[in-house]
Every structure is written in C-alpha cells, then in structure tokens.
Symmetry: C3
C-alpha cells in the first residue's frame, strides 16, 4: 500500500482493531497480561451505496456532522468565556463586592439565554426587513438554512450552505449574545443594584444587540452597504462597550475614586490569580469566537483565523507590557492582561480577511492603544473598574476600522468575491474604510441612545445605584447578605480592631 | 460554480492554499512582506476509489472518525467537571478543610479510573445477565461494538452501530463513573477521613454504580422494562446522591452545625470565587455530559440536546434566583449556583426526548424544588455542606420522572421507534411515568443498601469520622499536615491574638 | 431500514428536521406551544458527484476537515495548559510573589508565539539538514505537507499525509513550544527578574527547543537513528526540565530556604485551591497533548492514546499518594498533584507505542520516582519551588527510556512498520533502549550547554536575580509595583502590627 494513499487507512484501522498480544513475555503480571486475540474487520457490516445519489447524501451528512461538531465545539469555548469574564471582573474589584460580581456574571448567561431565545434570535436572524427581523420568536419557525430553502440570514450565507441544524446555529449565536451582556458587568461594578443589571441584561440581549446585529449579520442595511465584521468587533464588543460606557457614566464613579481637586485614586483589584486565569480562559475562548464564526469546518479558514487571532493577542500583550513599562516604569499585570484582550478584540472583525502580518500590526497597535486609552478614560472621570471601555469599545472600533486598512481583498482569503474590498494600506482606496466608519458610527449612536433610555427607565423604576452606606459596606452584604471569603481577615477590619484594642487598653 | 453546491468547496480550498501575495504594497515591513507564491492544488495526490465498495469503506471510516472526535471531545468536557466539583465543593466549605476537599476531589478520578478499568466497566457493559455483566474485566475482551458482531450493551445501541473504538467508549463511560463518586465528596465534607473516602470511592465506582448502571445502560432488566434515562439523572446523579445522603446521615452533622434546641447554624463557605468558577465549569461540562451521550456525531440530536440542556440550566438558575429572593429576601449566590445545577441534573434524563419548551418547564420546576429541598434537608438535620443531596438526588429523581411527563414519544425525536412512550402531560398515559418510578425506586433501594453496608464496613475497619479535636482544628492539618492558604490571616486566629495582646498589656 | 446500516442515518436526520408538533396537548402554555410544522428534507439541494474522481475529492476534503478539527481542538487543550501551569506554579509559591508568577506565566505564551513564529518553527520543521532547519522563517515558505509535494518534516509524516493546513500544524506545534518555556518559570520562581525570564523564554523557544526538536520531530539525526518520542517526554518536558534545572542552580536558592547547618526549610505554597485547579487543567490538557500528536483523526490511535495517558496519570497519582503516606506519614497534596503530573510526563513519549497495561506500570514507577526525586533534588540544595525538575526532567527521562522497555514493536499499534522496536521487557533486546538513552543524553547535554550560556549572558547584561531586599519584600512590589491580593491581611504583617501596638501601649 502506498504511503501517499490519501484516504481511509483501512489497513491501519484493521491492524489496530486486531490488537496484537501485548506484554506477553512480561510474565510477572499475571492476569493483566492475558490478552485479547481480538477480532473482526471493521469493514464487515458496511452497507455499500447503490449509486452516486446515495454517495452524495452520505457525503452531505458527513459534512453536516463535521460542521455541527465544529459549531458546538467553538460554541463551548465561547460559553466558557463567561467564566473568563467572571474571574477577570471579580479579581479586578474589591473583596467586599466579589459575591455581587460573581452573581452577576453567573446569572447573566441565564438571562441572555431566556431573552435571546424568546425574542433576540428572531430579531437578529429572522426574516424581516433591513432593520430588524420579525419571525422565529421562541425558536418557532422553519430552520433557516439554505437546504430548507430559507436562507440563513447574513452575509456569510455562502459559508454555511450545508444544513447545520438550526439549534446548533442558535446556540452559537446565543453564546455570542451572552458575551455582549457580560462586558457591561465589569464597567458598572461595585455600585450597581443586582436587579438593575438583571433588567438591563434582558433588554440589551433581547432588543438592542439583536437589532444592530441584524443590520450586520442578519442581512440588514449595513451588510448591504458592504460593512464587514467577521466575528464581532462591532456586533459584540463595541456594542457591549457602548452600553458599558453609558452605564458607567450614568452611575457615576465609585465613592472615593476621584478627589475634589481633580485627582484619581486607584482602587486595586483583590485577586489577580483569578483575574489572570480569567484572561487565559478568554484567550482560549477566542479560539472559538473567531474561528467558530465560519460556522463550517473549512480547514483552511479555521486554521488561518486561529493563527491571526493568536498572533494579535501575543503582540498586543507583549506591546502593552513594554509600553506600560516605559510609561509607568514597571510592567503592570493588569496592563498585560488588557493588552492581550485588546489584541483579541481588535482582531475579531478582520481575523478572516487579513494576513498574519497584518494581524500582528493590528495587535501591536491595540497594545499601544490600550495603555493610553485606560489613562484617558480615567481623565474623563468615567470610572470603569475593569477597563471594559478601553478593551471592548476602543479596540472594538480600532478592529472594525482595521478591516478598511488591512483587508486582503475579495476573492483573496475567502473565495468567490465575498469579503471586504482591499484595504487602504494595501492600495485599495478609502471606500472600505468609509463603510467601516459608517458602521461604527451608526451602531454606536443607536446603542448609546438605547442604553441611555434603558438605564434611565431602570433608574426611574427600581433604581440603578445602591445607597452610599451599602456601597461603603460592600454590595455582598447589602445585595446578597453574604461574604465571598468568610473566615479570611481583611485589612479594613484592622482599623476597627486597633480602635478596639485602644479601648481595651484604656479600660484596663 | 453554483453557490448552492453543497459539498467540498474545492475551489475555495485551492484558492486558500495558493495564498495570494499579502501586504505587498506595504513597503515598510521588510522581510516580513516577502511572500509565498504558494503552490500546488490539494487535489493532486488524491487516490480515486476503484468502486462503490471502496467508497463505502471510506465513508464508514470518516463516520467513525467524526463519532470518535465527538466522543473524545465530550468526554474531555465531562472530565473537566472534576475541576468544577473540586472548586465548587472546596469553595462551599471552610478554609481549614480546603486541602482535604481538594485532595479528595483530585484523587477521586484516579481511583475511579483504576476501579472502573479493573471491574466497573465489565460489570456495567460486559456480556452477562440482566443484573450484571461478567466479562471484559481489565478491558480484556473483544470490542463490543456491533461492527465486530458483539453488540454494544444497552438500549442505545442503535445510536452507536458504527464502530467507535472500544477505548473511546470506555473513556467516555469512565468520566461518567467518576462523576458519581465526586458527588459523594461534597456531602461528607469537613469530617470524613481521607482514606475512608478513598475506600468508598473504589467500592462505589467498581461495584455499585456499574450494577445499577447495567440495569439501565447495560441492557439489563430496567432497560427491558422500558425505563429511560438518556444521560444519567438516575444512573449517575441520583446514585451519587443516594450514596451521599447515606454518607452524610451516617457521619452525622459537623460539630456546631445544629444546636441542642433544634436550631441550625449556617456554616458559610470560604471562597465563592472558586465556587462560582466551579459552577460555570460544570455548566460547560454538561454540554459534554448530555449531548455526548449520543456517542455519535448525529447533528440534529446533539444540537437539540445542547439547547435543551442549556435552557433548563438557564431557567433553573433564574427561577432559583427569583424564588430565593422572595423566600429569603435576597438573591443568595449559593442558590443561584444550585439552581443552575438543579436544572442541569433534571434535564439529564429527558434531554433527548423532550422539546425545548418542555426542557424549560423542567428547569423551572427544578429551580423551585432546589430552594425548598435545601431547606427541608436541613430540617431533617442531615448536614450536607454543599447541597449535593438536593441537587443530585432530589433533582435526579425529578428529572427521571419528568421523562414520564414530557417525553415526545417514540419516533418523534429519535427515529425508528426508540425512546420512551409519550409523556402524561402530552396525553400519553401513565405507563412511562410508572416505569420511571420503578427505576427510581429500585435503583434508590439498591444504592441505599449498598452504601449503608459499605460505609458500615469502612467504619468498622479504618473508621469514617475524624476525631472531634481534628475536626475543630481542621482536616488540613490533621489529615494532610499542611495548610491551603499559608500566609493569609484568618479571623479564627484573631481571638487568640487578642488574648495574646491582653497578656502583653497586663505584663507591661 | 436495517438497524445495522452503517452510515448516514438519513431517515433519522430527516425525521429530526421535520420536527413533530410538540407539547400540543399541554394547553396551558399559550404561544410557546404553537409549533413548527417544519419542512423540507435535507437531501434536496444535494449535488450529486459526476464520477468517482469527484467522490475522491469530496472524501479527501472531509478527511482534511476532520483532521483539522482534531488538530485545533487538541491544540486548544494544550493552549489551556498555560492556565494550568500558571495556577499550579502561583499556588505553590508565596503570596508576595504571586503577581510576578502570574505575569510570567501569562506573557510567556505571547513571547513563545513571537519567537516560534519568527524563527522557531523554521528551525524545527523547515527544510535544512540533520541538525536544524533553515527555511520557513516568519511562516514564509510553501505548506510543507505531502499533498503539496513538500513533505512535512519528521518521522511521523505517515500520520499526516492528508493536507492539514500548514497554519493548523503551526498552531499545534506552537502550543507545544510554549509548554517548554512554561516549565522553566516554576523552577526559577520567587527570585528571578521579570525581564530576565522574558529574554530566556525568547531564546529557549526560538533557538534551543527547535534545534533539539528538529533532531527528533524534524527528521534530524536522532529520528534517523531510531529514537522515538511520540508526544514529547524529551522534546518538550526534559528540555524544559534541563533549562529549569540550570536556571534554578545558577540562581541559587531563595533566601532562607537552606540553613547553614545543612538543613532545609520548607516554604509552603499559598493557594492550593488554584494549584489543584492547575493540576486538573494540566490533566485535561494532556488529552490534547498526547492524542493530538497523531495530528490526524485516526479513531483507533486517538482512543488508545487517551486511555494510556489517563491510566498512567491515575496510577501515578494513586501511587504517589500511597508512597508519600508511607514515607511522610500523611498524604501530602503537593505529592498527589506531582504524582499525577509525573505519570503524565512519563507516558508522553510511549503513549502511542505501549499497551494499557504497560502504561499503568509506567505510571506506577513515575509515582514512586516523583516522591524520592523531590527529596533528592532538595538534598542537592537545588531550590525548585514547584518540583519542576522532578516532574518534567526526571520523569521525562523515565518516560523516554520506558519506550525502550515497553514498546509493543513496529507494526503492532501503528501500522506499516513505523514506530520503535519491541521493548526489552517484551523480549525485544536492548537496541531501542540504547537509542532512547542516546537521545536523552545528547538532548540533555545540548540543552544544558545552551541554557548555561543563555543564563550567563542574561546575567551579564540585565542580571537574573533580584536584590535581597526586593526578594524579602516580594517581587510583586519590586517588579510590578502591585499586590496580588489587595485588601487581605497576611500573617507577615502581624509582627509589625504587634510592634505598632506595643508602641501604642508604651506611648499611652
């Protein structure tokens, strides 16, 4: 049999299955050594297809199986990002608010599931008009895959023409929708009411995210205009970032964060072990986020996207490490973390459309942007405890625009004329960059208006900010009646303890 | 080439492989920009099958590859649940027992691997009678897949007739067996001897779990009766739950847990950051647990099961959040966690047999049950530090019975007449519900008897409970001679510290 | 339709897609119950291949898709090992150095990505001579897979002759390279300068690791000699281990670690919760590390390797637990962790070549070795805070040699004459053992020389060890200007606190 025989390896498998006597000569092992003189060729029982029609059906079934495995595997990676955000945001905040952050980040995916199942998915991907879908609420409606004659909405339809089951596509889109809501959680941390966040998450994932998502991934007006966002720098990250920005701005800063004379007081995170774990989980999750957005097991595309994603993260992290060392004197761990995330957010839109070299440049720029953006947002006195605005909004915008700068051009990486026009830096003119800008601006404007109205309504009904007393005591006791780290002693307690000891001494 | 061409995308791949010059115009990049004028079509070197017989063999080989990837991927997710249980249980207990909980949850999968390899798998899936298998000990025996003429044991054989290798199936079943043992760990926490748990785990995974498992998944009498448990609400969770209940009851409560006047003293967990991480890992793991139980890459089935699983978890978590807020006044994080897990345990039996709407109802009921079950178990003065009995036993029973209420009926979701009869609430009569009840009762009875005898024997030989002195000092020092968080200061230490300072003051 | 029909399940899928009315009789649910009378057979729209040539191309495309899914899935598992090492190493050290350990373990994969992309991959797998490759720098060069006529370098070429995309193979090899660098991090912990580690990682991953890797996996002289290392006991683990040993030896022990009279003072780790999590993540990651090294979705091979890997880990962990109980009196958690890792490192070289029974023996020996090795390294006064030398170097050597003892022989587990000669304990003579020894010795010698020169150069330029003052204060403040656990109180602080209180009392 030729070494180059490209398929099947039947003989290999047969040999395998007829496993040879093993360890036979190693007499000391007794019963363990008695062995399978195993049997039976795999080939027996194989039913031979009658004609090429049957072969075609078999081939399609296998293609659908491969695509569905890919979609579910990558969806699982993206689902796991909930754990990443949960650990990252909790670690970046204070221990007295840890339960609240954990609870928010845990329940938010449950809420996203409810909201996106009931209405979000229908608005985003259902049939409708250029502005929103209006069919398929509660997952009721025919499978909108091309094989059933009902085209999967969105510009990427050519990538998913095999009939990946509707529910696999739904689950994949659901974990994306969940990400947008999670982004908000970090920026509003340490002062928001639990049920206010609960309500906002339902609105964001049920209404706002799917409307702007429909424009881009649901075949809406931005898709038709020629705006391209492969895996969601705008659809997911800048939408989450805008909502986070408005939440942080409307809530106002945490007590003690800014002084009256214009100074800023850093409030350090309490657990960088889990924060770093969170960053690594998010990095892992992005290998689902970006390559999974093909929604087909297209070997060349998923390998390419995996590597562009990783190189942008690596260069983003390394650049932010060096830049923050130059700028602050020492490599700050939170900057390393945010530099990696900045690279990942930025490469999300262009990951499938750009070369590896371009991905590296996009990551380097993201790693520079993040350091200065964190400083600048702080100057605006917008208190964003985890840097969500700088990571997701600012780099979401950068990543979306970078498509207009670096895209390899249609028919280059993705076949058959699909994809953005050649980018400006590759000699492709400014058209694509302009389309990207229109998408950034309109999605931003819409999300800002929606989020402002939503936060305002929630504030007028159940209120969005906890009382100053509760904020000082910590939201864990106030909102949940429990502590995150029962038994541990905290420095805050020492002050009262010193006072107690003074009294003891005095009383003696 | 037509857009609708459903297979292959050869031209796409070729285009991909012959990657175009990239960034050519971006002259500043020097060497980086020199580029592949890459080569060679994929198609060259492809060996063409001689006839449809060869095509059939190739198709089967690919199907086996897809199934095996699916089985190993989902098995990895289930394996990861060990980390989930480990973090969850440790976080729910006190810091002085953290090393002990970590050590138990780490070694338990090693023990399960040994026990299930040596005898468990043979008892559960080997040829034998309706009550237990008796061949294939130490993995010796022919591959029991249909293609080798030796039917894979169990009622789901129709789903796995392609020859997934025996060892892939073994590994998948092993990670399930490990789960059952892990469940016990939480309920007996903070007072059990390390080697007593060690011994019980070997017995449970080697003998008890596989015997009742044989009845249901090994082609035994319950399978023949028509009892259905798709992924193990009974086989895994209620078996683990019964063993946990008996362990917790026989050990008695932790010192100080219940007062003489009938009151209960809550003992708070020490690390909700890792507990929440554990819950998210378990949620992720369930996307292996349930959809992986198909053991084939059946696109429609695995997508459906993924979504039923997720929706039950989401509604379980959201319901428990609201119910616990109404009942206790505030949303308790441990209730959110346990609500999600309750929904997941409950949907495990019916996940493949019910619609998404039914899954949502099953999750809502689970989210209600969990709150009241935790309260009720506490009233019985059974001290279950992590709520394992309420999550795994009570909701394992609910999930198993829910098959009899909500099953869509044979030939509806799974083809060819397999699956439970139509459920009572869909107009299907009480037969299926009765069969489910018989399974719940007999497996429960058997496990209770086995666990009682096993715990009793271990108590008479090496003893099951640590001394009161060791329990008060903490099992970490007593059983392992080490601390989990060396360097941190704990509130317990402050009392002695105050005494020391008093002495200092007096001595002056 | 026959139950035994081995492929396709078209009727099943069709039935599935035409989902039946669900819950129709459960009238209380309102809108939820309205239902899909869904549509459309899957088969419509299938394009029928014209002849067997088209079938062949389709089959190959599917095979490539399956292989690429497998490679990327397992690469993701290996990537996740970065989180495992990060949590393990950080947990085993003191809280005052936690940020430094987290930062090193986070940035190291970014650095590996840069270094391996730029030069490492080309040296390891590019065309060249028997000692190093010299083409494909910056990923420029034709896809070196056989289908493109440019054979993938290395002895395992027969396993990857289908055209898995170059970038998928690159990413898989990259995550391996990253592992080698991470191993070093633990051994040099708590006293190395951040940028010294930064520089060493770039050199190790860019030059040293790929050179010795080329000898073995790149078709170099050791491969031609007949040295076999399936997944990297030598290529990855002992290389990382040698570099770690030299780093630890050249840095010298931590202050206070050894007393003048020859005694050793144990410095306990500060967070065994994350350390245990790290161990479980690493165990999970090894299900990518070893089975993924097939780089094809070869069902029999990947299932076999998964089980050998797991059984060695399980027996390694259980053996170390028992041995450490016998030796130290109590089961030490760090020994359970290191026993599992020892089993995993040892089985890495032989995993594909040995039976399950042999894997168990290899794991048992690893579990014994680890306990005595940790004690012995300590006697040499080489201060290795996490036991990296014992886990990765000593057991890497043991695993590599075990191929010569236990290999089943060529044509037994892997077909067509590939693989090591039959091992000594199976009656195969000493040739293979001798080849394994030559590989261990030459790779060790090369890495020791390289690492010594590299550490020396770095010491002479930026210095490798922090000042004693910084070491005592902690590297977190010294190197990064931040704390890992802000807000928590540590026992170290109590001494100063007592002094403060004394002063207060005096001053009164």
């Amino acid at each position: 049999m030729s070494r180059r025989r490209p398929l099947l390896r039947r003989s290999q498998l047969n040999l395998w299955l007829s496993r040879p006597p093993k360890l036979r000569t190693f007499a000391g092992l007794g019963a363990v050594i008695l062995l399978l003189s195993a049997t039976a060729g795999l080939a027996q029982g194989v039913e031979v297809p009658k004609d090429l029609n049957e072969v075609a059906t078999s081939l399609q079934s296998l293609q659908v199986a491969a695509n569905t495995i890919w979609v579910l595997f990558t969806a699982c990676l993206v689902f796991f990002m909930n754990a990443g955000f949960c650990m990252l945001e909790t670690g970046f905040c204070r221990p007295k608010n840890a339960v609240n952050l954990l609870a928010k980040n845990l329940i938010v995916f449950a809420l996203s599931s409810i909201s996106f199942w009931a209405i979000g998915f229908a608005i985003m991907f259902g049939d409708g008009n250029e502005f929103l879908g209006n069919s398929g609420f509660f997952l009721m409606g025919a499978d909108n895959s091309p094989a059933t004659g009902d085209a999967y909405k969105g510009v990427y339809s050519a990538l998913s023409w095999t009939a990946t089951p509707l529910l696999a596509k739904f689950f994949f889109q659901l974990v994306f929708a969940g990400t947008a809501a999670t982004i908000v959680s970090g920026a509003v941390a340490e002062r928001i009411k639990f049920y206010a966040f609960f309500a906002f998450s339902l609105l964001l994932v049920g209404i706002s995210y799917p409307i702007s998502g429909h424009w881009i991934w649901g075949g809406g007006w931005l898709a038709k205009l020629g705006f391209w966002d492969f895996a969601g720098s705008t659809v997911v990250h800048s939408v989450g970032g805008w909502a986070a920005l408005m939440g942080a701005a409307l809530l106002g800063p945490r007590i003690g964060r800014y002084t009256e004379d214009g100074g800023a007081v850093a409030i350090p995170g309490h657990n960088f072990a889990i924060a770093t774990l969170g960053c690594l989980i998010l990095w892992l999750g992005w290998f689902g986020f970006n390559p999974g957005s093909t929604m087909t097991a297209d070997a060349g595309a998923i390998a390419h996207i995996t590597v562009t994603t990783n190189m942008a993260a690596a260069f983003g992290g390394a650049t932010a490490t060096v830049v923050s060392t130059l700028y602050f004197g020492k490599p700050d761990l939170s900057m390393i973390i945010n530099g990696i995330l900045a690279g990942l957010v930025a490469i999300t839109a262009p990951c499938a459309f750009v070369s590896i070299e371009s991905a590296i440049l996009i990551g380097i720029v993201a790693g520079i942007i993040i350091v200065f953006s964190v400083v600048y947002v702080d100057k605006l006195r917008i208190d964003d405890p985890v840097g969500a605005v700088s990571v997701h909004l600012v780099n979401g915008i950068w990543g979306t625009l970078s498509v207009g700068l670096f895209a390899a051009g249609p028919g280059q990486l993705y076949a058959e004329g699909l994809g953005p026009a050649k980018g400006l830096l590759l000699g492709g003119g400014t058209d694509q960059l302009w389309h990207q800008f229109i998408g950034v601006a309109t999605v931003g404007l819409f999300t800002v208006i929606f989020a402002t109205v939503a936060w305002f309504l929630i504030d007028k009904t159940i209120g969005i900010r906890v009382s100053p007393e509760e904020e000082i005591e910590g939201l864990d006791l106030g909102e949940h009646g429990m502590e995150a780290y029962a038994g541990f002693m905290f420095r805050d307690e020492v002050k009262g303890f010193v006072d107690l000891l003074k009294k003891m001494s005095v009383g003696r």
